[in-house]
């Protein structure tokens, strides 16, 4: 491998739109950053925020969450639930010492292979610029407690 830092990115995609967008990008032989490794869920609504935290804890430098466009969900409206969880989690991540830029939400329809590829490349570069995460969840938790303790005392 080359000298430059190659981030590891985990992508959670839904079965119906975004995984098919990735299929479409491949079928179109569109070249994009190979750093992403996909996990196929049935729906972005299946995404338990724990998965994302586990991904960061397990060594991922970035996590992409991808689903059908709002209004296009195969399960009617579950991507909205994914969206709600996403924004909530992103705020929490900052408190845990993870840059919000390491987590990205992408809506991609089954036809949007090009968009999927472009966005993955863009995201890979953004994470590359942030550098390796090397997140130590235990240390982060301890830090969390230190921050919280005075607040509790005050309360």
């Amino acid at each position: 491998m080359s000298e430059q830092f190659e981030p590891v990115i985990i992508g959670f995609t839904c079965n119906w739109c975004s995984y098919r967008a990735a299929d479409m990008a491949g079928m179109g032989r569109i070249k994009y950053a190979p750093n992403i490794r996909l996990i196929r869920l049935m729906c972005s609504g299946r995404l338990d925020p724990t998965f994302i935290i586990k991904a960061f804890a397990g060594g991922a430098d970035g996590v992409l969450v991808s689903g059908c466009h709002p209004g296009d969900c195969h399960y009617i409206e579950q991507n909205y639930k994914a969206m709600r969880r996403f924004y909530l989690l992103r705020r929490l991540l900052a408190q845990m010492g993870i840059e919000p830029g390491r987590l990205k939400l992408l809506w991609a329809s089954a036809a949007e292979g090009q968009i999927f590829a472009d966005e993955v490349t863009k995201f890979t570069e953004e994470v590359r610029a942030l550098g390796p995460l090397n997140w130590n969840p235990t240390a982060a938790l301890e830090a969390e407690q230190i921050i919280h303790e005075p607040a509790e005392v005050a309360a």
């Binding site: 985990i10 299929d23 994009y32 996909l38 049935m42 729906c43 609504g45 299946r46 998965f51 009617i76």
Partner: protein, 669 residues
């Protein structure tokens, strides 16, 4: 737990994968690095999907005693079923096979072989970790009730109902208006053949009304739907007709004797009158009239009862109340049709202000031999025959201010109008169009015929219709102001009559309909099909189909085709007697469930219900579609999803990050 015996198969896909992934290396790596994870066989082969490739797997299942299979090849959307079937035939439960994509997501997206090989290793590793957690599953089988509900009695619904009924299965049809027939019953002629609409429609209506397999509810609506494919429960609200249909013979004396005349805003499009007790038109099916309680003198003032006095069978029943009926049905076809764009929304076209501006539906009634003028094309005063007529296309469609879509029927409808005006009045006809769209069989020929008949075609969007005369010859006329874009000139065309070819719009209550039946609609309000090309009449909700204009604007042939297509799908399902469903389902561990009910509201399919006496929630596996949102939401971790369980996803994550092999590396020697 006894260790699984896993077989890993890396596909070359000719050079599609082998070109940018060192398949032999991936295979060797999986056999060595993942040995401790249970991999006992690791092979690469030119085409895994070929019968030889499949036999390779089957042979290993038998000889090596494989309990899990991972195939690294193309996208699961292409060949997951192939490899599952191969495993099944080899004696392994098909759901213990995992197909991971190293083609679409790996070899095709990057030219560098070293990078591709590393990524493929991670993907294979993820698949191996996930497959360990896979469980043997059986497809779900649900018996199917052969009764079918058809909502909407227009031509699409009629066709669907007849197809299902003629195949020998029971149909319940629900129509909101007092008679079936829909918009087609309002028309005089149909394009491009100009055959009489009533002549081709009414025999179909009679067939529905008298079919032994069809139970018809007119003047009724669907009030509630519950259940799932094969086993829906529907509640039908029969609005009070005030006429006892068991006694009524449909003789029509009540309509004759009723002294109250009211404008008919529905069937006659506001152009004609009906009585307070009425059938919308003489050939109505069913033949029983209804009393319009909002206009009936008896209901308003407490006296009259002329209809009751004259009814020879005593069928009038002023005390009748709305009734509710509940039926079990297996499948549902929605053919709820369309509403006409309200032309008042375009004030510069003057509809509602300028008397002689008509909508397309008004003109249909005007030209109809059974309509208010007996088919005479006259101005609003009822006597004057127009000497010149302008027909405006795309009113409210192909216009970003109103509806962006093309209403599909207006060009042909306008040509039909032009022909009828020309034929019956000899008037000069001006068609103002944006683009002529005549794509179906015989349509272009009809257009050519109109060109030869001498209709004037002006390409330009009309800016204004006004009665303010500016030049000699314009007094007392309607002036159509438009730019003729073919010659780049402004035109003012004075005419006696203007017809607006108004857009087809979704039914005004599309949101309620979508919610009631648990399906989705587009931004505009058209019901959404499962696939725009390959599955145009099914919806994302199993067992619910759509046909006709409810799905989008279309003409009669297309509506009939969709009605028949939906019926074919329904009959096909009924004949299977039971429905096979993918066993991707959520289930709730009753011991872990705290009864918090968070999951109850997560499910858009109402699959989760709360059991009051045990204070726990339960998933109905036949309703559950397997999205897994409730699994992610459960704070107690009591819900798990088959195929995509927490453990399986987290294991795959670990595998993708290669933590499974790192852990081994870190183990002190």
């Amino acid at each position: 737990m006894e260790k699984e015996r896993i077989g890993v198969y890396i596909c070359h896909c000719g050079s599609n994968i082998a070109g940018t992934v060192d398949v032999a290396e991936v295979s060797r790596w999986a056999g060595e690095a993942l040995k401790d994870r249970g991999v006992v066989v690791s092979r690469d082969y030119k085409f895994m999907c070929s019968s030889l490739g499949q036999e390779l797997i089957q042979k290993d299942i038998k000889e090596q005693g494989l309990t899990r299979v991972v195939v690294a090849a193309c996208s699961p959307h292409l060949h997951e079923q192939t490899f599952r079937n191969a495993c099944k035939e080899g004696g392994l439960n098909p759901y213990l096979c995992e197909l991971v994509s190293i083609r679409e997501q790996c070899s095709w997206i990057h030219p560098d072989k070293a990078v591709g090989t590393e990524k493929a290793k991670a993907i294979v590793s993820g698949g191996v970790e996930k497959v360990i957690w896979d469980e043997p599953l059986e497809p779900l089988r649900v018996p199917i009730n052969p009764v079918t509900l058809v909502v909407g009695g227009g031509i699409a619904g009629i066709q669907a109902a007849l197809e299902v009924a003629n195949a020998g299965y029971p149909v319940i049809m629900v129509e909101r208006e007092p008679s079936i027939g829909g918009h087609m019953a309002q028309f005089d002629k149909t394009f491009p053949t100009l055959d009489c609409s009533a002549c081709i429609l009414t025999p179909r209506m009679v067939e529905v009304g008298s079919h032994p397999n069809v139970k018809l509810f007119s003047y009724a609506e669907v009030a509630n739907v519950s259940g799932y494919v094969g086993n829906f429960q529907v509640t039908i609200k029969q609005k009070a007709r005030s006429v006892n249909t068991d006694l009524c013979t449909g003789c029509g004396i009540c309509q004759e004797k009723c002294p109250k005349k009211v404008i008919d805003p529905v069937f006659e499009a506001g152009l004609g009158y009906r009585k307070a007790v009425y059938t919308p038109f003489p050939q109505a099916v069913p033949k029983y009239p209804v009393i319009d309680r909002e206009n009936c003198t008896y209901f308003l003032k407490g006296t009259c009862k002329a209809c009751e006095k004259f009814c020879p069978t005593g069928a009038i029943d002023f005390n009748q109340e709305d009734e509710y009926f509940t039926f079990d049905v297996g499948q549902i076809i929605l053919a709820t049709g369309w509403d006409l764009f309200d032309a008042r929304r375009i004030p510069q076209y003057g509809y509602g202000r300028l008397a002689n501006v008509f909508t397309s539906l008004e003109f249909e009634r005007l030209s109809n031999a059974a309509g208010p003028t007996g088919g005479k094309i006259v101005l609003r005063d009822g006597v004057t025959v127009p000497k010149s007529v302008a027909i405006i296309h795309c009113v409210g469609s192909r216009d970003k201010n109103y509806n962006p879509y093309c209403s599909a029927i207006c060009c042909m409808q306008s040509l039909k109008f032009a022909h009828l005006v020309h034929e019956r009045t000899g008037a000069e006809v001006y068609n103002f169009y944006i683009d002529m769209r005549t794509p179906a069989k015989g349509y272009e020929e009809f257009y050519q015929r109109l060109l030869e008949e001498g209709t004037h075609f002006i390409r330009g969007k009309v800016a204004e219709i006004t009665d303010a005369a500016r030049y000699p010859g314009e007094e007392g006329k309607l002036i159509v102001q438009a730019e003729n874009t073919l010659i780049g000139k402004q035109m003012r065309v004075p005419v006696d009559m203007v017809i607006l070819s108004a857009a087809l719009e979704p039914r005004h209550d599309f949101k309620e309909v979508a919610r009631l039946f648990g399906i989705s609609c587009s931004e505009e309000g058209w019901l959404i099909e499962r696939h725009p090309k390959l599955d145009p009449v099914a919806t994302m909700t199993e067992g619910i189909y759509i046909a006709g204009c409810a799905q989008g604007p279309k003409d009669i042939p297309a509506s009939v085709a969709q009605g028949a297509a939906a019926a074919a799908r329904v009959v096909g399902k009924i004949q299977q007697k039971e429905i096979t469903m993918e066993p991707i389902r959520a289930s709730i561990d009753q011991d872990k469930c705290s009864g918090c009910r968070i999951c109850n509201n997560m499910c858009p399919f109402n699959a989760i219900s709360f059991i009051e006496d045990r204070m726990v929630s339960e998933v109905n596996p036949a309703l559950c579609q397997g999205c897994g949102t409730c699994v992610a939401a459960c704070p107690a971790g009591a819900i798990s999803g088959t195929v995509f369980s927490d453990q399986a996803i987290l294991a795959q994550l670990d595998g993708l990050l290669l933590n499974n092999v790192k852990a081994i590396d870190l183990t002190p020697a």
